[in-house]
Amino acid sequence: MAILFCVVVGFLYAAALYMLLSRSVVKLLMGLILLSHATNLLIFSAGRPVRGGVPLVPPGAAAPSQPFPDPLAQAMILTAIVISFGVLAFALVLVYRCHAATGSDDVDELRNTEL
């Protein structure tokens, strides 16, 4: 399962990078979305996910009886998802406003602030 996650995370990062390098602002946004997904899955795999066990200690025992996935990593992902949801929603509005203000989707046309 770890190998599968590595491949998926790597593929997502590659796709995100490809989109980020695009000249289209909308594709840039897609790239940012993929980037946050890739990172969330990376945290998930860093928590060493295994099937089955729960991180609860049975009565009378000192440790959980089965191997269990790390719940803290998943709590972090939840936080990260909420944050990226908020930020990306704002980014979506900003891209929309950008299109309304400039009439263009091309990052090369957004040079007014750099000359």
Binding site: M76, C98, T102
Partner: protein, 495 residues
């Protein structure tokens, strides 16, 4: 007494909530902002004196013991950063009551400013890596909205670049945190420091991820492009608070992780930081020299000055780190002030274009004097704070056998002086060009000039009290390099 550590976060949060609830009432918003500024300042002074007297303080949130719960930790470094930030926040708040237009005020400028401050103060206070990420995001979210609020095309364009680069930086930060958590199983700074002690190898790879993430935030070479493309677009009160606080949070994070966590292979990691510092200084100042818009000149100077701070971190001796700390608090005050002065100039003349400006010395000698104090301090002329900041760094560079970087710092200081002279000549000294069509609006009002005077006075005071300020910086640097003391203060004797 340690509950004090939570107040820097609680105070702006409460002020943000109140001013959001009374969005239509300017009076309540001003009152909330004023109370928050004063209370923030008082809390920061309190924390600073407590830390100075008792050493590193910690607060375990919800009484979950470290390293399992989130801890707030205040050492001298974070206490100084907090103190200077609250001074800047108070100055910018007073300034913004005069400078913010009706539209931006009704769109929520004041609540956003408070949320921004909450993020900044939270980042300084936390002793937990993932919590630091959350504060970064709080700060970024507020800064995104402040940057694009009520703006036309230029602001939107600037905001897109700022947003894209900062989200990429956040992804790097989060990915690095994930890998580090995978290696160690903790995100508590002190526990990380204990486990990473003397380690290199895969830890160095993670260190590089953090270096990229925080360098984007700090606008260090080669990751600085978003800053000159966006910082000059919003109203000047926003630019000023960004210039004073945001990149410095990136520098703070760099100093924190590269003194506490990643010191297993300093020849490699800090060597890279030193090279980055040299290039940041040079590229920033060359960019500034080539610009003709007051705010763009100042924006490029932020980049160049970040290089000086990284230089202190890269050399990594107690004296150099003291120089870094000294430089940070000097720079925050001066840079904010220069942006505020540029705002007054724009208010008076109606433009930021240096060629169209002029005659400010004749119309307001006081403003000209205050600008001169900050500009010469930035360039590093004695007896102002910038001189001593540069002196400490350059001396420590030579002592540590990195004379080349000291030479770079000296040349960049000269170019900084050149570019400050350009602003002085164009905006203040030469008569107002008749062809510019700009009119001189006369002398600035009290609420504009008072914060500038306050910050200029701070610069002069640091310059005059350079001895005690250096002693404080050296104590801070020694504390930063004594990782064992940090670990013991947070984890207790059992570690």
């Amino acid at each position: 007494m340690n509950v004090l550590l939570a107040l820097p976060i609680v105070v702006p949060m409460a002020a943000a909530a109140v001013s959001l609830a009374f969005r239509r009432s300017p009076k309540v918003q001003y009152a909330a902002g004023a109370v928050s500024s004063a209370a923030g300042l008082a809390v920061a002074v309190g924390i600073f004196f407590n830390v100075s007297r008792e050493g590193i303080l910690k607060l375990e949130i919800g009484n979950w013991p470290a390293p399992f719960g989130i801890v707030l930790v205040a050492d001298l470094f974070s206490a100084i950063m907090l103190l200077v930030s609250t001074v800047i926040a108070a100055a910018v708040f007073v300034y913004s009551t005069a400078s913010t237009d009706e539209e931006r005020r009704s769109l929520g400028f004041y609540p956003l400013l408070q949320v921004l401050l909450m993020g900044v103060y939270g980042a300084f206070m936390t002793g937990d890596l993932f919590n630091l990420y959350v504060w970064f995001e709080v700060m970024l979210m507020a800064s995104f909205v402040l940057l694009s609020l009520g703006g036309g095309r230029a602001q939107i364009e600037g905001a897109i670049k700022y947003l894209a680069l900062n989200l990429i930086s956040s992804a790097f930060f989060l990915a690095a945190t994930a890998v580090l958590y995978g290696i160690t199983g903790t995100v508590n700074f002190a526990e990380l420091a204990r486990q990473l002690d003397g380690q290199s190898g895969s830890v160095t790879v993670v260190a590089m991820l953090f270096l990229v993430a925080f360098s984007i935030k700090a606008a260090a070479f080669p990751f600085f492009f978003w800053l000159p493309a966006s910082y000059h677009t919003p109203p000047v009160a926003v630019s000023a608070v960004f210039a004073g606080l945001l990149t410095k949070v990136g520098v703070y994070a760099l100093v924190r992780v590269f003194t506490l966590l990643f010191v297993g292979d300093t020849a490699f990691t800090h060597g890279i930081i030193l090279w980055m510092a040299a290039f940041t200084m040079i590229v920033g100042v060359l960019g500034a020299v080539s610009q003709n818009d007051a705010r763009r000149v100042l924006s490029f100077h932020i980049v160049s000055q970040i290089g000086y701070m990284l230089m202190g971190l890269g050399i990594f001796t107690p004296a150099a780190l003291a120089g870094c700390v000294f430089y940070i608090f000097h720079h925050m005050l001066v840079k904010t002030n220069l942006f505020l002065v540029a705002g007054i100039a724009e208010k008076t003349l109606g433009t930021f274009e240096l060629k169209k400006m002029g005659g400010l010395y004749a119309s307001s000698p006081l403003l000209a004097g205050l600008f001169l104090v900050s500009a010469l301090s930035l360039a590093g002329l004695p007896p102002l704070s910038g001189f001593f900041a540069k002196l400490i760094l350059i001396k420590s560079g030579i002592e540590a056998g990195a004379g080349w970087v000291s030479a770079v710092a000296l040349i960049v200081g000269l170019l900084t002086l050149f570019s400050m002279t350009k602003i002085w000549n164009e905006a203040f000294w030469k008569p107002l060009p008749a062809s510019s069509g700009a009119t001189n609006g006369g002398r600035p009002a009290f609420a504009w000039i008072a914060p500038v005077a306050l910050l200029a006075a701070c610069t002069v005071a640091i310059g005059l009290a350079a001895g005690p300020a250096y002693d404080l910086s050296l104590r801070t640097a020694t504390q930063l390099m004594d990782r064992g003391a940090y670990v013991q203060a947070v984890l207790g004797d059992g570690s």
